[in-house]
């Protein structure tokens, strides 16, 4: 298998790249939803992100990538208990995935051949401490969506079926992508994504040509291309690590809290998740940019991604809700 296209070589799409980096800085933000046309680099960015993320330490044979032997679930049969460094898991959830594959199920083979009752962990277990990527998330079947909502909220996967009673941690960053022409997402699921970005094919001819040029260079000479871009990817990775260390020290003035609340009231977003995500993302952004204190610029920059998907949908608003958020941000923050 070839190395994925380097993250820093993706042309344009600043908002999408930034949103993905921010979830790496603070996984608590709660995921990114990328909506846009086909062939705009959605999948490329997610796969590139996998290569960019700092590795994690985990127990070698643990099915849920637990960091300590004590944290491994009791049903897991641990082979090697060595701590190993492995890349942050980025797990693909294919559209046709069944409930059994997602949450895990009775290991039928072992039940049939050896008569043992064993649990076969599913995709949620593998995605623990990492990313769960759903391409075409809007086409996902409803019952799987319900399931994901439940687990994403509780951070724990509970399986109670066929005589099994299993639970294990399942904390992951949900990354969804899709094409809005093929169907809308339910508001409940939308709300669970921390950030949402819209990507469009670049209209600028020069930018399009640059995309093709880089991709072509990557395809014809992967090694040379990686050599050019690897240092930049490493730079990004170092900055992510630095930002992670800085994050707890970011100061949040009360005035900014008021701004957050006023912004959300003006936009009429439901619930308080909007404020919370806005604040969290703004702090992550501040850490990423190396600031010590949260400022209005941070709010302003991140508000469209954090809030645009939490508004009531207006089917005739062709400019998209991002423009609405920007307008109101300008009004509130002056």
């Amino acid at each position: 298998m070839k190395t994925p296209f380097p993250f820093s070589a993706i042309v344009g799409q600043h908002e999408m790249k930034q949103a993905m980096i921010l979830t790496a800085v603070d996984p608590g933000i709660g995921g990114v939803l990328v909506f846009g046309d086909r062939g705009t680099g959605k999948s490329t960015a997610v796969r590139a992100l996998a290569a960019l993320l700092p590795p994690i330490r985990a127990v070698e044979s643990c099915p849920v990538n637990a960091p300590k032997v004590a944290d491994c679930p009791d049903w897991a049969e641990l082979g090697s208990k060595k701590l190993v460094t492995r890349p942050t898991p980025v797990i693909d959830l294919p559209l046709g995935a069944t409930e059994d594959r997602v949450v895990g199920a009775l290991d039928i083979e072992r039940a049939l051949t050896r008569g043992e009752k064993a649990f076969e962990p599913g995709l949620l277990a593998r995605a623990n401490r990492g990313y769960l990527y759903i391409d075409e998330v809007n086409l996902l079947e409803d019952h799987i969506v319900d399931l994901l909502l439940d687990v994403a909220q509780s951070g724990e996967n509970v399986v109670e079926r066929e005589g099994l009673s299993i639970r294990h941690p399942a904390r992951f960053v949900l990354v969804g992508s899709g094409n809005p022409e093929e169907g809308e997402l339910r508001p409940q699921l939308l709300d669970r994504f921390g950030l949402s970005v819209e990507v469009r094919s670049p209209n600028d001819a020069a930018e399009r040509v640059e995309v093709i040029r880089r991709r072509d260079a990557f395809e014809t000479d992967p090694e040379g291309f990686m050599q050019t871009w690897m240092p930049r990817d490493e730079e990004v990775r170092d900055t992510i690590l630095k930002a992670r260390r800085k994050l707890p020290k970011i100061q949040t003035p009360d005035a900014i809290l008021t701004d957050c609340a006023e912004l959300c009231i003006a936009l009429g977003s439901d619930g308080l998740r909007g404020e919370l995500t806005l604040l969290r993302t703004a702090r992550a952004l501040a850490a990423w940019q190396g600031a010590r204190k949260l400022r209005r610029e941070h709010l302003r920059e991140i508000a469209p991604s954090a809030l645009s998907h939490r508004l009531r949908r207006d089917p005739l608003d062709e400019a998209g809700s991002g423009a609405r958020v920007r307008r109101i941000v300008d009004e509130v923050l002056g």
Binding site: R38, P94, L112, A205, I212
Partner: protein
């Protein structure tokens, strides 16, 4: 060498390139009905060593897993290797039936760049019966020859001194030309120009050239772009959009000292070349942006077959693949008659002897309820003409709906807005009462009515109903969405909501209740992709008959 204008020759060229280097190209979408012609086409690419896969293939077969049949037989775990564990040239038969999940997984395999090649053999007869877009987009070539196959049809022989496509160089202008050309035809996806660039490389290598030339670019554009075009390029002189800048003449400074071969064709010539190859029905297929194909028939609620819930169907033999539930009783029943025989064959085994062939899987069929959303024009003009007849017709339909256990909802629009008079219900009495008290008068805010209908349709679909919108009106919208009496805006708003309804895939029916059939309503129904019924001087009986005929119910 120029691009052959005959579709069969183009197909031959495409297939020859595919045969020459399947790995570099990644695949093709072949759309042909079964027949001797297709057999010959497939025979021509036999050296590719195609392995067939079908839309029902399970994950275990694709990616490897435990071989259940062998495991049960041997009493120990036997694993089989998956289809995609080594480089493979796959032929996906009946590709038009490929479910979205499989398409996503195949697309993933192609994205991994692991050297697979996928040929999707699409037998779809109807335009909307085709390969899922996620996969179609990743297959560079589209091969769909029409007309009679020439008797002497055959592949194009490769050049004498072929080269590895990966070693073929392409000047930056090649990528630029192809990108701009794709943009010209409204192809937004950037995967497409990349695919074209790959085709150009393969074509150059095929002809033994070390660098991509004008001819390669032309061939690539002809093989990759036409079927993906979403709009016709502007005519020269049409200045609504600035024409893309012509590729700058920098051939010299890129070190392309290949003489006259490295000059690229002028953008306009390429545009014309591709335009000549655009499918004839392109214009017919150009639906307004953002409108997806409407889902078919509008009979009763859609039937959905599944293995999770709904009314049980007889169970089927099958293999356990994690997507279905075992029907234990049927499995035991299937195994029962064989017990004595199997016991004789394996006397040392105790207990029931169950073979994989005995396994029966549960299947269910779910029928979602239909919801008829009556969107009735109660404006002054309608009240004058035939509001009472419409009411009578709706009442008769209600009786039928009651018999079919359909749900009914009633929306009336008049004056400055629309009102949901009756949320989805099965109560006939209530509906009749609301209908009888429906007052008339005011303007025709068609957009507001459509908005209400669209909202209700989306909501009800989320609740598992299959909505059908029946629009009864007498003509032109004259009140805009914000309540202002402005004909132009009103018509625009109505059109936009019609697009929303169509994009949502809601089936609809437009009933013209004016004295004279209105052209505007015919346009509306075309926009909705809905049947249109003009009922000059129809009585309630005929109206109801026409509606039930149109709804197939």
């Amino acid at each position: 060498m120029s691009v052959p204008s005959d579709s069969w020759q183009r197909a031959a060229l495409g297939l020859s390139l595919l045969l020459f280097d399947p790995r570099h190209l990644g695949g093709a979408h072949i759309r042909m009905r079964a027949g001797p012609a297709r057999d010959r086409v497939l025979a021509s690419i036999r050296p590719m060593n195609l392995r067939r896969i079908h839309p029902g293939i399970t994950d275990e077969q694709l990616f490897g897993g435990i071989d259940l049949a062998q495991t049960l037989e041997a009493g120990q775990v036997v694993e089989n290797s998956g289809f995609f564990q080594s480089k493979v040239n796959a032929l996906l038969t009946m590709a038009e039936r490929c479910p979205a999940g499989l398409a996503a997984r195949l697309a993933q395999q192609l994205d991994r760049d692991a050297g697979h090649c996928i040929l999707a053999l699409d037998e779809g007869a109807e335009p909307d019966e085709t390969l899922p877009a996620a996969l179609a987009e990743r297959l560079p070539l589209f091969i769909s020859p029409d007309g009679r196959m020439p008797a002497d049809w055959g592949l194009v022989p490769a050049g004498t001194d072929t080269r590895e496509p990966a070693s073929v160089t392409a000047s930056p202008e090649v990528g630029e030309t192809l990108t701009l050309l794709a943009a010209h035809f409204g192809i937004d996806s950037l995967r497409v120009p990349l695919a074209a660039l790959r085709v150009a490389r393969v074509h150059a290598g095929f002809n033994g050239r070390a660098e991509v030339t004008a001819a390669d670019v032309e061939v690539a554009a002809a093989l990759v772009f036409p079927h993906r075009a979403t709009r016709l390029p502007e005519e020269p002189g049409d200045t609504s959009e600035p024409p893309p800048p012509p590729p700058p003449d920098q051939d010299e400074d890129t070190g392309g000292d290949q003489g006259e071969t490295s000059t690229l064709p002028d953008g306009d010539i390429l545009v014309d070349a591709v335009r000549a190859l655009l499918p004839a029905d392109l214009l017919a297929g150009l639906v307004p942006a953002g409108t997806a194909a409407r889902s078919g028939g509008a009979g009763a609620g859609k039937k959905r077959k599944g293995n999770r819930r709904g009314r049980p169907l007889p169970s089927r033999p099958g293999r356990l693949d994690g997507t279905s539930r075992i029907d234990l009783v049927a499995t035991l029943r299937a195994a029962a008659p064989w017990q004595p025989l199997r016991r004789k064959a394996q006397p040392d085994q105790s207990g029931l002897l169950i073979r994989p062939a005995d396994i029966r899987l549960k299947r269910y069929e779910e029928q979602s309820d239909r919801l008829l959303i009556f969107t009735v024009d109660a404006s002054g003009s309608a009240a004058m003409s035939r509001l009472n007849e419409a009411k009578g017709a709706v009442e008769m339909l209600l009786a039928q709906a009651y018999a079919a256990r359909d749900h009914v909802a009633l929306i009336a629009f008049r004056g400055t807005g629309a009102e949901l008079l009756l949320p989805p219900t099965r109560s006939l009495v209530q509906t009749k009462r609301r209908l009888a008290s429906l007052p008339g008068g005011g303007g025709t805010p068609l957009a507001a009515g459509l908005e209400q209908a669209a909202t209700l349709a989306t909501q009800s679909r989320a609740r598992g109903l299959t909505p059908t919108v029946v629009i009864l009106t007498d003509g032109r919208a004259n009140v805009a969405l914000d309540g202002t009496p402005d004909r132009a805006t009103a018509a625009q708003d109505a059109d936009r909501f019609a697009d929303v309804l169509r994009a949502e895939g809601v089936s609809a029916l437009v009933i013209d209740m004016s004295a004279r059939p209105q052209e505007a309503l015919r346009e509306l129904s075309a926009r909705l992709g809905a049947p249109y019924l003009a009922l000059p001087r129809a009585d309630a009986q005929r109206l109801s008959g026409a509606v039930s005929a149109a709804l197939g119910g």
